[in-house]
Symmetry: C2
Subunit: 436 residues, 2 copies
C-alpha cells in the first residue's frame, strides 16, 4: 500500500495511488475505491479539476440563478438536455411494434434501469389493455380453475425482487465473423434491471390446486400475437412472480401492463408480458417461440431446446463507443455483470487484451439475478488499449472468451451470446468494438 | 404451525393459515409469506378469485388481442389508465415553484420511487441549467480551490447507494391538535427513495486538501434562491456524495440536475440540489434555512438547531385513505419504514389500536438509510379496525407514539415528526386518519 499520508492512516497520496497498478495497461489497485484511498496529501492532483482562478470562475452567477425557475408537475420528466438518452428501436418492415427497443447503457450508471428506458421486445406491438377488464386465468391440470381481477390480486401477500431481464437474442451480432460496429446500446442493449413487485405464482397455483402429474405451465400474453411460452412447473413453484409494479409504479405498458410474468434469470421471451393465462400441463406446449425460435442451433445441426437461464456475462459501459476519451489520466472503467444462475462473485478487467487481469470492485448490494455494477480506476497512458471484462458467478461459472463460446457451440447458435466482448480505445480517444 | 398438508411438507392448508393469528384484530402469522405457507390442499380458498365458469371467462378474447398494438417510443411513459398516479403539489401564493410536490405512496409498491414521482421541495422553482456551463467549486479552507466540470467529475471513481430522502417537514400536520384529514400522499408524501450514483465528496475534498482546523462545509445550490446549508465536515468526509445519476439516468431537474448533494439519512433540505459550491469552513454559516427554518422549537421556547438525521419512522401505505376495502377476508397490510441512523431492524403492526402487536416481514435486501417495505397478511373481519405500524432501527431506537413525541418535544416542534400514525378502517371499508 506504500506510506500513509494525511488526515487518516488509510489515506494515501493521490499521485502515489495513481501509480499503484493492479494489472497491465494502467489498471489501478481496487483499494483506490475503499476506505478513502483517494485522499490525503495530494501533490499533483488528478489534473481533472481546474485550479487556476477557480474561485472567481465558480462564483460567477449564471443566468438561471437570476430568475425563479419552473413550477412543479404531476409526473416529472428528464432534463431537455438529456434528449439523447433514449431507447433506439427497429421493427420488422411494415410491422410497427414488432421488434425491439434497446437500453442506452453507455449513458446510464448504477444498476437500476429507469422505467422509461427499460428494453422492450414485442411481437405485435403494445396492446392497450383496460386494467379493469383484464383477467388472469389459472387453469388446466388444477383442482379448480380460478380467474383473478387486478383488484383481487392486490389483496394477496406480495414481494419485491430486483431482477435483470435479458432477451435471449441480446448481443447476437457477436456470433458473426466480423465485429459488428455499434455502441453498448446497439450491441448489448436488450438487458435491463428493475425492482419488480407482485404475487408469487406458487401462491395462486397452490390455491388452484396443482395435479400431482403436472410438470409444465403455459404462459400466454394478451397481445394480438398471443405470445406464449412453456415454463417448467419447478420454476413456476420457485421464484416466479406475477409482477404488478416496476420500480414502485404499475408495470409500464411496454413491459406488460397491467401484469407480466417474472422468471428471474430466465431468458426474457419466457417472461410473458400482458399475462392473461397460466395453464398447468404435463408437457411443454411446443408453441412457436420455443420451436421455430429461441432454440440453439448446435454444431451437429440439431437444435438445443429449452435453454432457459441466461449465463454469466459482463459488458463495459464506460468507456465504450460514442464516449470519446479526452486526454490521458484518471478514468473509471465501469460496467454491468449478471448471471441467471445466482450472484456475481467477481469481475476481472483487462486493459491489455487479456494478457493480465485485475479484480474490479463490485457495487454493494450484490443481488442474485440482478445487474451488478463493477468499477475499476484506470490511469490511461493515452495510447491504444483493448478493454475487456470477465464475470464469474456464484456457481463458479466463468464467462468464456468469444472463441471458446463459438468453439463449443458453433457459429450458428444465434441466441444466448455471453462471450467476453472487447472495446479498443484508440490514441485519438475513440472507442470501437473489436474481437480481441 | 398445525399439521402440514399437500405437495410440500412446509405447506399448510390456506384455510388453516387464515386462522393462524399473530396478534389481535386478524393479523396473520408472518410465516404465511415464508417457505410456501400459502400452499397445499386448499379447501375453501381465499374467496378472492372467481372460480365459477372461470375457464370460459378467462379465455374470452378481448378487443386488444384483435389488432396489432402500438409502436416503440424512445422514452416510455406510464399507462394512460394510471393518470391518477401523480405527485400533488402546492406552492406559495403567487410564487409558482416555491413549495413541494408529494409522492403518491398509496398507489405505489416496492421500495424504489420512480424518478417521475420522487418528492420535490423547491425554494425558487426548478432552474434550467445548461450542464456544459455548470461548475462545481470546492473552496474555502483548502490548500487549493478546485472547479469541476460535469465531464471532469464523470472520470472519477463512482459509487451507488440506494437511499431515502425525507423532507424535515414531512408529516408536520400530525403535530396539530386534531388529526389532519388526507391520504398517505398528503400527510407523508415528502419522502422517496432512489439509487443514487456519483462521486464521494471526500474524494474531491481530499484532492483540494482540507485545512486541519476545518469543521464544516457550506453547500450552495444554483437555483435563484441560492439555497444553502451548513454540513458537518465529518458527514462530508463520510458517506456524502455528489450525485449525478438517479435510478440509472441523470438526476432529474426537479431533483438537482445536473448534480445534487446526497447526505444519506439527513433531512432533505441539507441535500442541496443544483449544487454549485462546497465551501470548507471552521463554523456553520448560519444561513436562513438553518436559523429561521429547519430548527426544532422545544418546550422551553428555545430552538434546537442542527437536528440532522431523520429518526426511525414507518407508515402504512396499504390499506390507507382512498383505498376503500371491499369486503372482509384476506388483505395485505404493507408500508414503508426507514431510519437516518441505520437499518430497519423490525416493524411491528397492530390492528387493535396498539393493544397487541405482530412482527411484520421485511422485504430483503434491508439496506441502511433506505426505504424498507414491510408486509403482513391480515384477515379482516369486516368490522372497525385501527391500524398502526412501529419501526425499530439497528441502533435500538423505537419509533415513539405521537403522545410521547409531543410530550418530549412540545407541540410546536414543527419539523421531524416521526411518531406512530394511525389509520381507522370503518365497517364500510373507508379509511381515515385518526389519533389512536
Amino acid at each position: 500500500m506504500g506510506k500513509t499520508n494525511g488526515r487518516d492512516g488509510s489515506e494515501r497520496a493521490l499521485d502515489e495511488a495513481m501509480e499503484d497498478r493492479a494489472a497491465g495497461g494502467g489498471l489501478l489497485d481496487r483499494r483506490i475505491f475503499l476506505g478513502g484511498a483517494l485522499g490525503g496529501g495530494v501533490a499533483a492532483g488528478t489534473g481533472l479539476a481546474v485550479s487556476t482562478q477557480a474561485e472567481a470562475q465558480g462564483l460567477t452567477v449564471p443566468p438561471w440563478m437570476k430568475a425563479p425557475g419552473s413550477n412543479f408537475v404531476g409526473y416529472g420528466q428528464p432534463s431537455k438536455h438529456e434528449a439523447k438518452t433514449v431507447r433506439t428501436f427497429a421493427h420488422a418492415p411494415n410491422v410497427p411494434g414488432t421488434g425491439s427497443a434497446r437500453t442506452p447503457h453507455h449513458l446510464l450508471n448504477g444498476t437500476i434501469t429507469p422505467n422509461g428506458l427499460h428494453f422492450e421486445r414485442s411481437h405485435s406491438g403494445i396492446p392497450d389493455i383496460d386494467p379493469d377488464a383484464h383477467r388472469l386465468l389459472v387453469h388446466g391440470m388444477v383442482k379448480r380453475p380460478l380467474t383473478f381481477t387486478l383488484e383481487a390480486l392486490a389483496r394477496y401477500p406480495m414481494e419485491s425482487q430486483i431482477a435483470f431481464i435479458e432477451c435471449g437474442g441480446n448481443s447476437l451480432g457477436l456470433y458473426g465473423e466480423k465485429p459488428p460496429q455499434g455502441n453498448a446500446q446497439a450491441l448489448h442493449g436488450l438487458v435491463s434491471c428493475a425492482e419488480w413487485t407482485g404475487v408469487r405464482l406458487k401462491v395462486l397455483l397452490a390455491e388452484a390446486g396443482v395435479a400431482p402429474k403436472a410438470s409444465w405451465v403455459l404462459a400466454e400474453g394478451a397481445d394480438s400475437a398471443g405470445m406464449s411460452r412453456s415454463v417448467p412447473l419447478a420454476k413456476a413453484m420457485d421464484d416466479a412472480m406475477i409482477a404488478l409494479y416496476q420500480n414502485g409504479e404499475r408495470v409500464r405498458p411496454s413491459n406488460g401492463y397491467p401484469m407480466r410474468l417474472l422468471l428471474p434469470g430466465y431468458e426474457g421471451n419466457m417472461q410473458v408480458k400482458w399475462l392473461r393465462r397460466i395453464k398447468v400441463m404435463d408437457a411443454p406446449a411446443m408453441v412457436r417461440d420455443e420451436t421455430s425460435k429461441y432454440t440453439l442451433l448446435t454444431k451437429d445441426g440439431t437444435s438445443q431446446q429449452f435453454f432457459f437461464p441466461m449465463e454469466a456475462k459482463s459488458i463495459i459501459t464506460h468507456p465504450s463507443p460514442g464516449l470519446t476519451m479526452r486526454g490521458k489520466g484518471l478514468y473509471e472503467i465501469s460496467g454491468l455483470a449478471w448471471s441467471g444462475n445466482g450472484k456475481i462473485a467477481r469481475v476481472d478487467v483487462s486493459a491489455d487484451g487479456g494478457k493480465s487481469w485485475a479484480r474490479a470492485a463490485l457495487q454493494e448490494p450484490v443481488l442474485s439475478k440482478a445487474l451488478t455494477r463493477f468499477r475499476m480506476a484506470w490511469n490511461w497512458d493515452g495510447g491504444p488499449a483493448p478493454l475487456q471484462a470477465r464475470a464469474t458467478d456464484s456457481s463458479g461459472y466463468v464467462q468464456p472468451t468469444r472463441a471458446k463460446l463459438i468453439a463449443d457451440r458453433g457459429a450458428k447458435a444465434f441466441y444466448h451470446f455471453n462471450g467476453i466482448s472487447s472495446w479498443s480505445v484508440g490514441a485519438n480517444g475513440e472507442i470501437v468494438h473489436v474481437y480481441a
